[in-house]
């Protein structure tokens, strides 16, 4: 019979059974192998029972597949209590026979063994429940109890082999839990019989913080996520955070949201951030990262948006008090429930747990703006890669909800290390990176802001000075000289200097202007004199001409008179005759 199912496997895709557990279905690409058995192995307290229970509960609640939980260790009361504390309404499921818990008691001291036997009683017991409640999913938690209570291991192993074959024939998806072995997957080598899928659970300590990890060691006939995935167990149950399951297909908004500072908005293409973008504000201690974040949150709330402030460093009261000192009054916003705070010690839980906390709270409140201050404190509970993964998950989550998120990040100044290095990893998932820095000069320490990156907009390349006063945060132009950037009083001095220079220049120009005017006038006068001279010359020429004409006339007249007197008729004066004849 089992051969038949194997034959159908090759041409047809392996059928899968959705677990409904967040993240697990993603990394298994569709769930556990259907009608087959899966081994879940892990140490004490790694969450094996929880995973098994949730597999059944979700199967029953989401997919209407009745499940049988065969408990070798805990009684039904204990189990319902344990699971009940996780927020599932399993009483309802039990009442409707969608979840059946069967506690199998086995105690070596209660019986003796003589001669050969088999586990038909167990088969009948399971078969009875399966038939009665139309069971589709079975969890065996944990079969190893049998090994420690039954002496005849040889018989037990062959019986287990028979059991899993039997389940396959009955078309039941089985999940078996097992204690982790020292050098093997499970202590009693259950993986020999349950070879279709093996999931390893691990609860390890990293720097005094426990982190749960899940890995799929084997999945016959299917591809699967090969990494170790962090998972958490909280009141929402079992959640696997599969960083690789992030899909980069969120919609990009073109709407803009003000940074809360006009001058900063100007630096950001004049309009501020994109809605749903992730913003990183990094800088050394005391530079005003939180003030920027609070200003952003405050102004967003003033515009009627909701904001959620996650504080990993300071208490709510402290933040409120500190912001009050710079003229940002958060209290009324908190009272109006526009602004919510969640102050939590990063060491109180693992990274993934924090992430899910944040997601849960954000889901409840549905804000437009989220502040995480400071994100660097998360490094104390995970290495940079883990923080990076969690941030990537968070960012993708916020983007999917079109929430603009601002992270602050502490940069420790280290000689010889570029400041950007200290934010390596974090910045890659950020859309906007604002860098705050100190400028030390002339016995002063001043603050400056610059935008290292801002995706999708033409942003300013300017360094500006930050002024944090009673009236809040303000940005000022800085003076960039040939040698250095001037801030603080040096900037003021430079400003006055420039002013003086400017007024000097002005008077200079006025003087020159006057001189030019004078020269102009002089030239004009000269031109006028020359003009007069020219006129005079012209007059002379005309009078000369007149004189000449008169003379000619006189000469002609006198000649005529003379010839008249002489009575001469020489040819010569013919012309004169003609003239006179005229």
């Amino acid at each position: 019979m089992p051969k038949k199912t194997k034959k159908t496997k090759a041409p047809v895709m392996l059928q899968k059974c959705l677990t409904g557990i967040t993240g697990l279905d993603e990394i298994t690409f569709g769930g556990l192998p259907k009608y087959r058995s899966t081994l879940v192995s892990g140490g004490a307290g790694s969450g094996k029972t929880m995973l098994g229970m949730e597999f059944l509960i979700r199967g029953a609640a989401l997919y209407k597949e009745p499940g049988l939980f065969v408990a070798f260790e805990e009684t039904q009361e204990e189990l319902t209590q344990n699971i009940g504390s996780l927020g599932f309404n399993i009483k309802e499921l039990i009442k409707n026979h969608l979840l059946v818990i069967d506690h199998i008691q086995i105690n070596r001291s209660e019986f003796a063994e003589t001669g050969s036997y088999n586990l038909d009683g167990l088969f009948i017991r399971l078969g009875c429940a399966i038939a009665q409640y139309k069971i589709k999913r079975v969890v065996l938690d944990t079969l190893e109890i049998l090994f420690s209570n039954i002496a005849n291991e040889l018989m037990l192993r062959s019986e287990l082999q028979r059991l899993f074959r039997w389940f396959k024939e009955k078309k039941i998806t089985v999940l078996v839990t097992a204690e982790k072995g020292q050098n093997a997957i499970s202590r009693y080598g259950l993986e020999e019989y349950v070879a279709d899928c093996v999931i390893l659970l691990d609860n390890r300590m990293d720097d005094q913080v426990s982190t749960r990890r899940l890995r799929i060691a084997k999945y016959r006939g299917s591809s699967h996520g090969a990494n170790e995935y962090p998972f958490i167990i909280n009141e929402g149950g079992f959640t696997v955070t599969a960083i690789t399951s992030i899909t980069l297909n969120y919609k990009a908004s073109t709407k803009r949201i003000s940074s809360g500072l006009k001058q900063l908005d100007t630096m950001l293409d004049g309009k501020g951030f994109y809605e749903g973008s992730s913003i990183l504000i990094s800088g050394p201690a005391g530079i005003g990262k939180s003030s920027f974040a609070a200003t952003f949150a405050y102004n967003s709330c003033k515009e009627g948006k909701k904001a959620y402030y996650f504080a990993f460093e300071e208490s709510v009261e402290q933040i409120v008090r500190n912001m009050k000192s710079i003229g940002i009054h958060l209290e009324p916003l908190i009272k109006k429930d526009l602004l919510r705070f969640h102050a939590i010690n990063p060491n109180s839980a693992g990274l993934e747990a924090h992430m899910h906390d944040i997601q849960k709270l954000v889901n409840e409140f549905n804000p437009s703006v989220v502040i995480i201050d400071p994100v660097t404190n998360l490094k104390t509970i995970g290495n940079i890669n883990q923080v990076q993964d969690v941030l990537a998950l968070l960012v993708s989550y916020f983007k999917s909800k079109k929430i603009t998120v601002m992270f602050t990040s502490l940069v420790t100044e280290q000689k010889g290390i570029e400041y950007t290095k200290t934010n390596e990893g974090i910045s890659s998932s950020m859309d906007v990176w604002i860098y705050l820095q100190y400028i030390n000069s002339d016995g002063e320490r001043n603050r400056a802001i610059s935008i290292l990156k801002s995706r999708g907009m033409a942003h300013s390349n300017q360094l500006r000075e930050i002024i944090i006063s009673k009236n809040g945060v303000r940005l000022e132009e800085v003076y960039v000289g040939t040698e250095k950037v001037l801030t603080g009083s040096a900037r003021l001095i430079q400003a006055t200097k420039l002013e003086i220079e400017n007024s000097d220049k002005e008077s200079d120009i006025k003087y020159k202007e006057r001189q030019i005017q004078i020269r102009h006038k002089k030239l004009e006068a000269e031109i006028a004199a020359l003009h007069e001279m020219l006129e005079g010359a012209k007059d002379e020429i005309t009078s000369l001409n007149q004189q000449k004409e008169r003379t000619y006339n006189l000469i002609a007249e006198s000649r005529a008179k003379i010839s008249k007197i002489r009575m001469a008729d020489s040819t010569k004066p013919k012309s004169e005759k003609n003239k006179s004849g005229k």
């Binding site: 019986f111 063994e113 001669g115 050969s116 036997y117 088999n118 009948i124 017991r125």
Partner: protein
């Protein structure tokens, strides 16, 4: 007396063979000292062997003072859960109290006597 007992065991055997509904074999007027329940699944070699062995042990150790009830889980599957039966065959000594349990085909008489603690007041008689 012996014949009577033989008849009894024959009846038990026939019950087993016919997959009969379990039935207390108490033909005696006074209740027997040893009340034994034998859980079987049909007539597998193990089960038949177990019954034969059990009967033999009883006959040899306390004739006339026992009853064997055969419970076939194929007929009464719900008893697997109710009586917490995993291994087949299983013998339960219901009486005298406390309850004792032995699993297997009962091929080792000594183990059965120890396991079911059936040697009460008999160990020195032999």
């Amino acid at each position: 007396m012996l014949a009577k007992l033989k008849a009894k065991t024959k009846k038990a055997k026939s019950l087993l063979k016919n997959k009969a509904v379990p039935k207390k074999k108490t033909n005696k007027k006074s209740p027997p000292k040893y009340v034994l329940l034998l859980y079987v699944v049909g007539q597998t070699p193990n089960c038949v062997r177990a019954f034969n062995n059990l009967k033999k042990i009883c006959e040899e150790n306390f004739p006339n003072d026992y009853s064997i009830e055969i419970i076939d889980l194929l007929k009464l599957p719900q008893l697997a859960k109710e009586d917490q039966i995993l291994a087949i065959p299983t013998v339960i000594r219901k009486l005298p109290k406390p309850i004792r349990k032995t699993i297997g085909d009962l091929s080792n008489t000594e183990d059965v006597l120890i396991g079911l603690d059936l040697r009460l007041g008999r160990s020195f008689k032999k």
